[in-house]
Subunit: 323 residues, 2 copies
């Protein structure tokens, strides 16, 4: 059966449909991104060995448009020890363990991407959509499941029209299912991508959700597909508008400083990265694929009052309702 048929086959378990979805979207997204560049994606497949499962990383480096971009899928399963189950309970209200030793069997699959263009006027983008389920380790009975994900934009220079377009495209993708989702998930995105020690958001946001099981799983697969399908229309026109904009060395330096903040968020705060770095059998290169090719830290840097750089910081300190 072709992946596209599996996605909508309601006779199949959700995990198989979600896996088919991420496999198809990895191909579509890398094809769409590669059209903006003269360099293509390099593909690596990897397995978790004794830990169960594996994935496929597709990475583009040193292109003409993109400095670095990675689109990674993973499909993993195994046993979560009691300590990991306890940690996850904070974010997942339905998670429970019925086994004597507190462990749980799990299945997880997802697609994660980060794209860093060269041009400081073209923003970085991140997206991630994932599905998680847990099973009783003795009976193998399904115990809990949820979807999570989101997509957010991180410009070094702020073009209001880009932020509006990005948010509008994602709002449209959600409104088809529930018009209450965009306002809720837009706010959640601003809250999640907040760099506490800098008192600023990572970028101009987008959507973010986790622990989502409030519709039948079949409906959520379609909703996630709708979000996936918003990705290229949300991002590609922005890159096309900005990738050839002239820039100064000072603007390139500012982009490098903003990339430093991106690294700070990902290494210090991002839950997925933290989880991956602590999980035995993780493929570190796929987890840290999100880090930019280049970044910079300048001591006590403050942009000039009233400059474009300063305007960005003010927006990052007080997230804007773009729509």
């Amino acid at each position: 059966m072709a992946p596209s048929d599996k996605i909508h086959d309601t006779a199949l378990p959700i995990r198989e449909r979600m896996e088919a979805l991420i496999r198809q979207k990895q191909q579509e997204i890398t094809t769409g991104i590669a059209e903006l560049d003269t360099v293509g994606f390099h593909t690596d497949s990897w397995e978790r060995g004794e830990h169960g499962g594996g994935g496929q990383s597709m990475v583009l480096q040193n292109g003409t448009t993109f400095e670095k971009g990675g689109v990674n899928i993973s499909v993993v399963h195994g046993t979560l020890p009691a300590a990991a189950v306890d940690r996850m309970k904070a974010d997942h209200r339905n998670l429970k363990s019925s086994s004597a030793d507190g462990s749980l069997k799990f299945f997880a699959c997802g697609l994660s991407l980060v794209i860093h263009p060269h041009n400081p006027h073209a923003p970085t983008v991140h997206a991630n959509y994932r599905y998680f389920e847990t099973h009783d380790p003795e009976t193998d009975e399904l115990q809990s499941w949820w979807f999570g994900g989101g997509c957010d934009l991180t410009p070094s220079y702020l073009y209001d029209e880009d932020a509006k377009h990005f948010h509008q495209t994602h709002k449209d993708a959600l409104d088809k299912y529930d018009t209450l989702l965009y306002p809720k998930w837009k706010k959640w995105c601003d809250e999640y991508f907040f760099i506490k020690h800098r008192n600023e958001t990572r970028g101009v946001g987008g959507i973010f959700f986790d622990d989502y099981d409030e519709l039948p799983a079949d409906d959520i697969v379609r909703l996630v597909e709708s979000c996936f399908d918003a990705f290229l229309p949300a991002y590609v026109p922005i890159v096309n508008r900005r990738k050839d904009t002239e820039f100064t060395p000072e603007q390139k330096n500012w982009q490098q400083i903003r990339r430093g903040r991106y690294v700070e968020f990902n290494l210090v705060l991002d839950r997925g990265t933290q989880f991956g770095l602590k999980t035995p059998g993780s493929r570190i290169e796929s987890i840290l694929m999100s880090l930019p090719a280049t970044a910079s830290w300048v001591y006590d840097h403050h942009p000039e009052e009233g400059s474009e750089e300063d305007r960005l910081l003010k927006v990052l300190a007080n997230p804007v309702d773009w729509l």
Copy 2:
């Protein structure tokens, strides 16, 4: 009284003597480092406001020899809430709280430095020496105290003679007090600066110690002074040997990748950085002064078997006894 007189005045409390020591060493070290460059240090003083205390950061950026270097001192005091006391107990066996709410009064002072040269053949260096004491919040009685610190070297290209010289100079500084310290603290350094998710040490080590109260405090002040005095003789000759070595763009790229690993250690694993990022009233710029001006992440990078880059990785995976 001049700082140098205060350091050895046994009539003064240890906290005042240690504060005098770090103030004097900040001046000596920045003077010694600035002699290798055409650019000097910029000095910022800062206060913690309502949180108690402050510090002085001295930073050199964009020099001829050094890309970025910071030498920071801080002298802070205040109240540790019960949760922070509990977290610290794991590393400090004598720490206890006798107050009803589990809180503790504390005093801490220390000097922390990181120097990143431009030339990929010249190594990065880090040092930190600190003193901590806790007091009963009701009676103000001294409850526990300890010293901690260390100094370690992070080359991008490995020169055995540099590693040996660096270790020998620190061994000599410790052997004057106790010949058992160097072997113990050298091993501790390799263990502490281990990047778990990469299965490699950050660099070729040096010395590291924490929770140290096994000699009278007066003796430890002298021992820490001896370590401080080892810093310039351990590092300056290495920079002098390497700062004008010719290098290729490929060697510069390799340095950038190694700087990425430095960032990973500091943001993901370093206890001091983690503590600082979570502590209200911290001066973020002083904490993150340790990050390099430039760093790079290349997906799935592996040096050629048998190359100099490969030799470094093999040493980082299996720490060497240099002496």
